[in-house]
């Protein structure tokens, strides 16, 4: 019986061989450039490894180092925590305000106009935006210091990205007022999915704008909020390009983040095993956060509905 089953599955596989043949390019690429590197990273996190000839198994040595002996790790994770909290606050307020305003415009042509307007900056390469902001913060000719001088606040001028206490916040502030991003579009999609009858009913009841927002709209766009929370978390935990090109972790290690530290270990210090361990650690954090987020915020929606 079991044998029969096996034979029929086998004959089915042979009969459908064309399907597998057509999937071959996809899986060959994925095996080479995705599965293999991911497994290799996790495997090599258990080794001391220079990426070439020297390789030595050290068990959880890298992780013990990372958790208890490397002062840069807590510092960089603290920075990530700051960035994450700030990004969450930013992404849950400004884009939501913009989307809500656009949605409540009665004139639909203007609503469309603003939507397109706030999409355009997204088309500008992120790197160009970082470069423009690097200029804005530059000490002598920078726009921010020039502005302070022009309005007579000369004493407030400083090298923003070179200031130990302010550099991280300067990087976080990039893109102010943060309304031209994917978040605005996602919120807007959420608002547009609210049944119009519901809003009409609330209008007839004479509810204030605030009540309408808190009692009706917010619960109904919970799905979008959850999505933005996940995206922001994942983005701030592994992102480091903005830091890399604006401060390169400096001054000192004031703006160091785990992603950049991983990059340094791999590319500058040749500590490939340690870099893989940092990567694996970040991967685990992301999985846990995604899981918690799905679980916690999903029950939130059910409760609200």
């Amino acid at each position: 019986m079991v044998n029969d089953n096996r034979r029929s599955i086998l004959s089915e596989i042979i009969r459908k061989k064309e399907c597998y043949l057509l999937l071959l390019p996809t899986f060959l690429l994925l095996l080479t450039f995705n599965y293999y590197p991911a497994l290799s990273a996790i495997y090599h996190s258990l080794f001391e490894w220079d990426g070439a000839n020297f390789i030595r198994f050290i068990g959880l040595g890298n992780f013990i180092n990372l958790l208890f002996h490397d002062p840069t790790i807590p510092l960089s994770f603290l920075n990530t925590l700051r960035i994450t909290i700030a990004s969450l606050l930013i992404n849950l307020t400004f884009p939501l305000l913009a989307a809500s305003l656009i949605f409540h415009l009665r004139n639909l042509r203007y609503a469309y106009f603003y939507r397109v307007l706030f999409v355009i900056p997204m088309v500008v390469p992120a790197m160009v935006i970082f470069m423009i902001w690097r200029f804005i913060y530059s000490p002598t000719t920078g726009l921010l210091n020039q502005l302070l001088r022009t309005i007579g606040l000369e004493h407030l001028t400083r090298p923003w990205l070179g200031d130990f206490d302010l550099a991280l916040y300067a990087v976080i502030f990039v893109g102010f007022p943060w309304v031209a991003g994917t978040s605005t579009l996602i919120y807007l999609a959420g608002f547009q999915n609210i049944p119009p009858e519901l809003l009409d009913a609330v209008a007839i009841d004479g509810a204030s704008t605030w009540t309408r927002f808190w009692k009706i709209e917010l619960p109904l766009i919970m799905g979008q909020i959850k999505l933005i929370v996940i995206l922001t978390l994942i983005g701030s935990i592994q992102g480091f390009v903005n830091i890399m090109v604006m401060t390169n972790g400096g001054p000192g290690e004031a703006t160091m983040v785990p992603g950049l530290y991983l990059y340094r270990n791999a590319m500058y210090y040749n500590k490939m095993g340690y870099a893989c361990a940092i990567g694996t650690f970040l991967f685990l954090i992301i999985i846990v956060l995604t899981y918690l987020n799905l679980k916690y915020l999903r029950s939130g929606i059910e409760y609200q509905a």
Binding site: I13, T26, N34, V123, L185, V245, A275
Partner: protein, 275 residues
């Protein structure tokens, strides 16, 4: 109409303020891109005449190569993703075969793996393969990574097409490939454009991978090139050409945007769903 305007008035004010704050840095960039250093120093805020178009020829001579490289890599990658992903999505959507669910889950699980995890082994792999400093070192991983989300989106779209169409083709004796090229592809055109644009955005903006795999300055992409260009021109205090370079680097995607606005917005939002 008048009542609407009264209702909308406050909203307009806030949105206009947000708009001005958002666009001011770009406006400043464009204004400064036409200045020479004398104008930059003596009239930092204002628009100055004459406009120095030579800043643009200056910047262009330096970054045109990067734009060309990015253009080649981005175009080939986007078509590669469409080719590989559409056929796989078609197979997943329209055929039943042993292991279908399992194989699809294998692909989906990749959405969870952060790029930072694979960076080091992927770099060592392409180094061993001798691909450093070639277009392939960018194109192949971009196709491989880009197809994951593309398959995800295309599969659900192709699965929603009516079965009768494919049934009729089968009765007429059409082969799998024929029904793929004659039915699935023509009907999926809009979603294919969206997927392509999503890919273009990701590829054009990628920084770390080309930085690591392309040591040779002549092969740099625009992201890597613009950082080096920016440091060099900023260091030389060539502000006008520096900002002209930023404008030039932004033009290709802006042009693409204006030709494909509808698909572009769809692509931006669906790109966000990449959890």
């Amino acid at each position: 109409m008048n009542k609407d305007l009264k209702h909308d008035f406050l909203i307009h004010i806030i949105l206009i303020i947000l708009g001005i704050l958002t666009f001011y840095p770009f406006a400043f960039t464009i204004i400064t891109s036409f200045k020479d250093n004398f104008q930059f120093i003596h009239n930092f805020w204002g628009i100055t005449l004459p406009l120095h178009f030579s800043n643009y020829t200056d910047a262009w001579s330096r970054i045109s190569r990067y734009i060309l490289n990015s253009g080649i890599v981005t175009t080939i990658s986007a078509f590669g993703v469409l080719a590989v992903a559409s056929i796989s999505a078609f197979v997943f959507a329209r055929f039943n075969f042993p292991g279908r669910e399992f194989l699809f889950l294998c692909i989906l699980s990749l959405l969870m793996i952060p790029g930072i995890l694979t960076l080091v082994p992927a770099f060592l792999l392409v180094k061993r393969l001798g691909l450093l400093n070639t277009y392939w070192v960018l194109i192949l991983p971009y196709i491989s990574g880009g197809q994951v989300f593309a398959i995800f989106i295309l599969r659900s779209f192709i699965a929603s097409l009516p079965e009768e169409l494919f049934e009729a083709a089968r009765v007429d004796g059409a082969t799998t490939l024929k029904s793929f090229f004659n039915i699935a592809i023509p009907l999926s055109k809009p979603i294919l454009v969206t997927v392509a644009i999503m890919n273009v955005l990701g590829t054009w903006n990628d920084y770390v991978w080309p930085l690591v795999t392309i040591p040779d300055g002549r092969m740099w992409t625009i992201t890597v090139g613009i950082v080096s260009f920016s440091s060099q021109y900023g260091g030389l205090e060539m502000w006008g050409p520096m900002f002209a370079g930023y404008v030039i680097a932004s033009i290709p995607l802006i042009v693409l945007f204006f030709f494909t606005m509808r698909y572009f917005i769809a692509g931006l939002t669906s790109g966000a769903l990449k959890v």
